[in-house]
Each structure stands twice: as C-alpha cells, then as structure tokens.
C-alpha cells in the first residue's frame, strides 16, 4: 500500500483562546482529491491554510510527501514558500499589476528557470485552461471565469506536487460553476496531482472528490468516499448537510429485527426497517431517509416491509423534480421524485422505501 502524500495528525488551530480547529486528523493518498466540506465557519479553510503554511497551527503534525512541514513538538514550521505546493484562492488573487503571462510565470521566475523554459511552461499551462490567447492581457481586462482559469494555470505552471483549492468556484455564476466543476476534475485527473479542495457546495464535493471530509465546528463529522457520505451518513448533521433527508426519531425494536435489518418504531407508531452499518445509536435513535429514495405509488406493491398508506398534503413543482409532502404517522415526510406523476392535496397513496436506504445514525 502506498504511503499517504499528505498527512494531518491531531491538528489544532487556536485564535487566542478560541479553538478554531481540532484536533483533526486525515490523510490524502498520492494523486487523490480530498474535499473538506462543511458550512461556513467549520474550520475547513483554516485547515487548508495550515497545510499551505499560511496559518500557524497550535498543535499537531503535518507531513507532505514524507517530509514534516509542521510539528508542534519538534518546533518545525516550514514557511509556505518552501513547502513546494500551490493554491487557488477564493478571490483568485490575480495580481492586477501584471499581465496574464507574468502572473502565470511568477512561480517559475521565483525558481529561476531559464527564459525558454518559462515561455514553454506558461504556454502549456495557459493552453491547459484554454487561455493561450490572453497571455498579454491585464487582470482588469478579464472576466471572472477567465480570472479563475488564469489562477488555475498559475497554480499548475511550476508543476507543484500538491494543489490546494480554497472554494475556487464560489464566485462564479451557477452555469459556469457547473462547467468548471467538470473541467477541474478532468484537469486533476490528467495532471495526477494530489489535491485538497475546500467547498461548502455539496454537489461540487460529490462531483470532484475521491474522498470527502465533512467538517463541523472545527471537527471532522465523517470521512469517506462520496458514495459512503451520501448513502451512509454517520450523523444527523451529515445526513442533513449532504443532500436532503427526513430524520425519523423513535425507539429500537430488536424483537422486530429481521433479515439483518434493524427495526425502529417511529414516534408516530410506524415500524421502519433499516441498516445500522455497524453504528451504535444513542439514547434517542434516529434514522435518516433520503427524500429521493422514498417512492410514492398508487398501488401497495409487494414489498414485505416499509410500506405505508399516506395522505398527500402538498405537491411543489421544482423543475427537475417534484417535492411531495405527505402525512405519515402524525408527521410530515418529504419526498422528492423525478417522475411526472402529479399528486393533489388529499390524495391517498402508498409510500415505500427499500430498507437499504434507511440508515441508523450515531448519536451526536
């Protein structure tokens, strides 16, 4: 098994007496993209900046490529300019007093490369982001999307072994963001460079990452593949933050468990079968049910468990999907369906869900 390219161990960052991060630990395998995901103020950007060397941690260890760049006990703190990594900033940080070419060439000039090499590498980098035609322009003459591309070219130009991204797409409009998401992912694959990506955008995280680290209040809530994070959220926070979910509380009924599924008696009396995924629930067990996994049909079907008659309360058309609210055991459940079925208030229907999609959560 190859060793991790970036290792963060028990990292803690304090601002005065306030603990902003930690302790957190995670690692990134060579060539992989890890995303730090979380709401604003969760410490994801601070963590990224600590890896870059722009923020001084208070405790812990950071290793990049086997080399310790920060260690609180060893008193090691390699300055950012000596860490050999690169970063794309949220504001792009395109230097307004330089041309596009000069911006991209900066890191190469710092490394005292020959003129020919600089010329060639800048061309390659600019071509990579399809900005070759803009080399002579000033930053003020570029649109947001173009600045973003230049920032990317600049970050790649000197072939760093690690790329860091601090919410690079958050200042773009929705359409462009969608395109850039795919481009970035392709670029990352092509370059095979290890990268750490920070975002609060769920879709971005799911689309771009090999691994997602969900953070909240300076701590890691869950660390796993996009699939794992989405399908098996560990806590109510992850379930709610990563996609939309119905959180159903109740009490466990071990007597009704069968076929390896756990049974939960919801507060309204309905019995819900789901998976525990090896997790130990707290005193008040909660199951997470993704809104898109719920099925609404006119017929009962033949599933042995998790089928209930419900009454439709409201039906909201959202474009790509339709959101239906139904009354279920005295509470409201939200269903998001992509089918064209139209439901009216007061309609009776059958609600069903596969037990594999009902996930027992850990206590917070």
């Amino acid at each position: 098994m190859p060793s991790a390219h970036i290792e963060v161990e028990n990292l803690e960052i304090h601002y005065g007496p306030v603990a902003a991060v930690g302790p957190v630990s995670f690692s990134v395998m060579p060539g992989q993209q890890v995303t730090l995901l979380g709401p604003s103020g969760c410490g994801k950007t601070t963590t990224l900046r600590a890896i870059a060397g722009l923020e001084r941690p208070s405790a812990g260890t950071i290793r990049i490529g086997g080399q310790t760049v920060y260690a609180s006990d060893g008193g090691i703190n390699v300055p950012a300019e000596k860490r050999g990594l690169s970063m794309v900033f949220q504001s792009y940080a395109i230097w307004p007093h330089m041309t596009v070419f000069e911006n991209v060439a900066y890191g190469l000039r710092v490394r005292r490369k020959s003129k020919a090499e600089i010329e060639e590498k800048v061309r390659t980098a600019l071509d990579l982001v399809q900005m070759g035609a803009y080399a002579g322009r000033h930053a003020s003459q570029l649109s947001g999307g173009q600045q973003q591309r230049v920032a990317l070219a600049r970050a790649c130009a000197f072939s760093p072994n690690v790329l860091l991204f601090d919410e690079p797409l958050s200042n773009l409009d929705a359409k462009l963001r969608g395109d850039m998401r795919i481009e970035l992912r392709e670029l990352q694959h092509r370059l095979g460079v290890t990268s750490v990506y920070v975002t609060h955008d769920l879709e971005e995280a799911l689309a771009m990452s090999d691994q997602i680290v969900v953070m909240r209040r300076g701590h890691i809530e869950q660390n796993g593949s996009p699939n794992e994070i989405y399908n098996y959220p560990r806590t109510a926070f992850v379930a709610d933050f990563v996609g939309s979910a119905n959180l159903i509380g109740g009490r466990l009924r071990p007597d009704l468990s069968k076929d390896g599924f756990v049974a939960l008696e919801a507060d309204g009396g309905h019995i819900l079968h789901g998976v525990s995924h090896g997790r130990v629930p707290g005193e008040n067990p909660v199951m997470s049910v993704r809104t898109v996994h719920l099925r609404l049909a006119a017929e009962q079907g033949d599933a042995p468990v998790n089928v209930w008659p419900v009454v439709v309360r409201r039906c909201v058309f959202l474009g790509d999907m339709t959101q239906v609210h139904v009354e279920w055991g005295g509470r409201d459940l939200v269903i998001r369906q992509t089918t064209a079925d139209v439901w009216h208030e007061g309609d009776g229907a059958w609600l069903s869900i596969s037990p594999d999609s009902c996930v027992l959560l850990e206590a917070e």
Binding site: A52, G53, L54, R56, I64, G65, Q67, T68, V69, G74, G75, I76, N77, V78, P79, A80, E81, K82, R83, G84, L85, S86, M87, F89, Q90, S91, A93, W95, P96, H97, Y106, G107, V110, R111, H138, R154, F158, L164
Partner: protein, 568 residues
C-alpha cells in the same frame, strides 16, 4: 524542500522579514518613547533647574498648575467654540454634498479639501489682516460704509476659534462625509416603505445612524483643537491671551525658561488628549450597528428644489472664507507698501518679494525646509510603509502594541512632543541638537500617524491573498515585497510621500522649538517675520512658501504620473 530547510526552520534563524521587522520596531519605539520619557522626567523635576539629570523628584509642578487655571479655561473655551463651529461647517457641508442635489457637487467636493492645505497659520495671518479691530479690512470697509467701531474682532478668543474652525472644518467634513457615504440608503427607504414621512425618517433613522460617527468626529476634532498652536500664537499672544500650547512655548522661550512647569503642562495636556483619543477609538469601534459594511453606497440624493442654490451658497461661502478670501488678502498685502491701506497705485510695490527672496535667512530656511521635506517624505514612506505592513499583514507578535506606539504621536501636540525631544536629545551622546538631523527625527516621529494612516488605508483594501499567493508560489519575503506588495501599494506610497512632504515643509509646532541658528526652517521664520518685521513681508514669505510647495507637488505628481504611464 530539503532536510536543510527543515533544519533551518527548526533553528529559527532570523529571516530577512524578522530582522527588518525588529529594526523598524526598535527605531519607532526609540523615536516615540525616548522623548516621552524625558518629558515626564522633566515634569517631575523639582530639584535645581540648572542640573540634569534631576536632583529631586516630586509632584510640585503639577500641584502648581491650578494657579494657571486661567490658561486652562482659555484653552477649553477656544477649543469648545472651535469644535462647535467646525462641526457645524463639517456637518452642513457633508450633508449638502452627500445627500442633496446641490449643483456643481464634484467641484465643490474637490474644493472642500483645499482648506486643509491652506493651513491655520496662513489663515490666522490673513484673518488678522482682515479682522483686526482697528486696521482690519472688513472693519475699515464697515466704517467706510457708515458703521462705527468694529464689526468683528479677530484678535479675541472667538477669533482664534473662528480661524481654527475654518481649517478643522474640512477634517470634520471628511469624517462626517465618510459616515454619510457608508450609510445604506435602503435603511431609509425601508422606513418610507413602512409609511414614515421624510421628517420622521430623518428623526428616527438617519440621525441615530449618523450620531456615533458625528460624535466620533466631535471628540477627534476637540482633541486636535486642544493641541493646536499656530492660530493661538498669531492671534492670542499680542493680547497675552494664552492657551496651553502657547503658554508652554512662552515658558520655554522666555528667560529664564521654566522647563519643569512647561513639562507638567505638556504632560497634562497630553494625558487629556490621550484619554479623548482613546474614547474616540472606543466610540468608533462601538458603532457596530452603523452601516459599516465596508461597502460604498450610492447615497440617495434629496431633491431640495430651489433651495439647492442656497445650499450651494453655503458650501461656496465656506470655501470663500477659508481659502479664497485669506489667499486674496495675503496676495493684496504682499504687494502693498502698507498692507492696511485702501488700494492706491502709489502704494503698490514688489519690494516685499524682493526683500523676501534676497534675504539670506529666508532662502536658507526655505532650502532647509525643502531638504527636510524630501528626506522626511522619503525615509518616512519607507518607515511607515514597513510599519503598516508589520501591523496589518505580518504575524510578528506584539504588532497590536506597535500600532499603538505608531499612532501615539497623534495624542501629543507637536509642540509638546518637540519639547520632550529637545530635552531628550540634549543629553544624547551624539551632538545632533541644533542640527537638521534633530528636525528630521522630529518630523519622522510626529508624522508617523499620518504616514501609517495613509498607507494602511490602501493596504487594507488589498486582498490579502494577493500576497499569500506569492508565498505559496515559492517567493521569499523580500521578493514578494518587491514584486507584489510594493507595486500594488504604489498609490498609497506616493500619496504618503506627498502628504509627508507638505506637512514637513509647513511644520511649525515642533520646528519652532527645535531649530537652532544653523537649522532654520521656513514656517517659524514666517512667524518671526510677523512678530518682528512687517505684515507685508510676512505675506510675501507665506505666499512664496505656498507657491514653492505647490510647484514641488506639481512636479512630483507630473513625474509620478509619467513614470506610471510608462510602467503601463
């Protein structure tokens, strides 16, 4: 990255950044703290006044202060009256220019900055020609029109306050204007949508929102007024009407000097100003709910109809009274044999200019001032630029304290600071007392806040990640400074150079105490001429200074504009 890098960072060898940082901190701390120490020491000296260091310490000097209660009352009366007037000017003009559809707004706004450059000294000289009870032009015209006595008397406490207010008014205008500019107009619009009328909105929304800003401006202006010197010197001393600063000057300049008493006065004044500026910072930082989003809004302009020409007249009169009238008066006086006479061809002369330009003392003082101006501006920009960066961008421990030290001279009247400096450098082993070097150090110290404020305001607008990106790209600190920070800071550095240059050439309070026979500078020379020779000659000298300063600034901006155009 190599093993040696890691090893070096483990050893924590001082980097360029750290060494430069430590050097700057050391210089600034020495410049600021050293004189203050001697000032306090002198104020506590109750021993033999001829012997230094003091033979005995005590609070006697402070206990003697109540005997000078009259001076305190004078100071408070003048400062209070001047503050009220300056705030009225400032608030009115700020409101008119930011919130109404007054005609020629752009032009007026630019004109509002001019009083700051005309200086209270020029204003005091000119207004004394205009408003002296017997000979003042205004009173002469009044009597010629059939009036009797004097319609205004500028040689009075209110006269001093009037002149001070005229020039501090533009400071109040800038401060209050900034508050009005940063106010989100939708706050007022929301009030109107909720059914409130214009007057009710003004009362319940606008006023509460601008109050903290206006209060902040009031405190700041009042503190400045307490420490102001030149107007009281020109208009108060002839009638022996002293405020604290002029009293200190008198105590130091008279024979025998009463140093400890002057020092005690200085320390008390500085304590009060320090407290006020501290309070000011509290007020400013407390106005959390006030609109400060760092965003500039396009203020909503009120259509005031025909009234707008009246408002134009108000702004115009302010500029007229503080700039046009004083300058015209000085120009007129400078070409007269007898300034206070009515125009007559026989009275016209260019002798005053000839005299001013041929007098060795004046030429010498002027060239000294220009040399000092260039040196102060150049060294000052390097020093304050570094300071601003250290305060706002570095991770140097104790940079918060550094900001306090750098802004400290703001709370000390320049005259009082110079007094401490005089005392401090007299005992300094290297003999710089009485040389231009002492003046240079003095200017660098007293203008620290000006430089730091100017450069910081630009620095704070620069996205921090512009520098961080250079860091991540692998550039060393020195390289980043050279290729990123300094080019981006260029407008701020140039503005600071210009302000420091102008301020140094015009400086009076510190220079008047620190210059020696071999280090004459121009502004004290102008004051000397006012008290020692004729007002016509003084007017000529003051105008020469203004013109030379104007030319220097024009040349400087021409050069920088050309080089920036070449730079792309």
């Amino acid at each position: 990255m190599s093993a040696t890098t890691a090893a070096r960072s483990r050893l924590r060898l001082p980097s360029v950044q750290t060494s430069v940082g430590i050097a700057v901190i050391g210089v600034v701390a020495a410049f600021v703290i050293y004189p203050v120490y001697y000032l306090v020491q002198a104020s506590l000296d109750v021993g033999d006044p001829e012997v230094r260091p003091p033979t005995a310490y005590g609070l006697d000097n402070f206990e003697a202060l109540p005997r000078y209660w009259e001076i305190m009352v004078n100071t408070l009366v003048v400062a209070f009256a001047a503050t009220v007037m300056a705030l009225v000017f400032g608030f009115l003009t700020a409101w008119i220019l930011n919130r109404t559809n007054v005609p020629f707004r752009r032009t007026l706004e630019q004109a509002m900055a001019v009083p700051y450059y005309v200086t209270p000294l020029l204003g005091a000289l000119a207004w004394s020609l205009l408003g002296a009870p017997e000979s003042g032009f205004i009173n002469q015209i009044w009597r010629a029109l059939g009036g009797s006595g004097a319609i205004i008397d500028i040689i009075s406490p209110m006269g001093i306050a009037w002149v001070m207010a005229l020039f501090e008014g533009s400071v109040a205008f800038v401060m209050i204007g900034a508050v009005m500019k940063s106010m989100d107009p939708s706050l007022e619009e929301a009030s109107q949508i909720n059914g409130a009328g214009r007057f009710y909105t003004m009362l319940r929304i606008t006023l509460p929102l601008v109050t903290p800003g206006v209060l902040g401006a009031a405190i700041f202006v009042f503190a400045e007024m307490l420490g102001s010197f030149s107007a009281a010197l020109v208009l108060g001393t002839p009638t022996r009407y002293y405020v604290i600063t002029t009293a200190i000057y008198q105590l130091v300049a008279q024979y025998p000097p009463r140093i400890p008493l002057a020092a005690a006065l200085g320390v008390s004044l500085f304590a009060v100003m320090f407290a006020m500026l501290f309070f000011y910072r509290r007020v400013i930082s407390r106005r959390s709910y006030v609109t400060v989003s760092g965003k500039a809004f396009r203020p909503r302009l009120t259509d005031v109809g025909g009234l707008r020409w009246v408002l134009f007249g108000i702004c115009g009169s302010y500029v007229l009274l503080s700039v046009v009238l004083p300058l015209l008066t000085l120009i007129y006086a400078s070409v007269q044999k007898l300034a206070v006479a009515f125009p007559a061809a026989s009275n016209f002369t260019l002798d005053n200019y000839r005299q001013a330009l041929t007098q060795n003392a004046v030429r010498y003082a002027m060239s000294n001032s220009l040399i000092l101006g260039v040196l102060t501006a150049t060294i000052g920009v390097a020093l304050t630029g570094m300071l601003s960066w250290l305060i706002h961008r570095s991770r140097v421990p104790g940079r918060g304290v550094l900001e306090y030290i750098a802004m400290f001279p703001q709370a000390v009247p320049r005259l009082v600071f110079a007094f401490g400096m005089m005392w401090a450098w007299l005992v300094f082993p290297i003999p710089i007392y009485g040389t231009l070097w002492l003046l240079l150090i003095a200017y660098l110290t007293v203008f620290l806040p000006l430089g730091v404020r100017t450069i910081s305001s630009v620095l704070l607008q620069l996205d921090k990640s512009l520098e961080e990106c250079g860091e991540v790209c692998g550039a060393s600190w020195a390289h980043r400074m050279r290729t990123i920070t300094m080019p981006l800071l260029r407008p701020g550095l140039l503005a600071a150079w210009m302000l420091l240059f102008i301020a140094s050439v015009r400086e009076l309070g510190a220079s008047i105490l620190l210059m020696g026979p071999h280090s004459q500078v121009i502004t004290p020379a102008i004051v000397d001429a006012w008290f020692g020779s004729s007002s016509e000659l003084t007017a000529a000298m003051a105008l020469i200074q203004t013109v030379v300063l104007g030319l220097a600034v024009a040349v400087f901006s021409l050069i920088t504009r050309r080089s920036s155009r070449q730079g792309g």
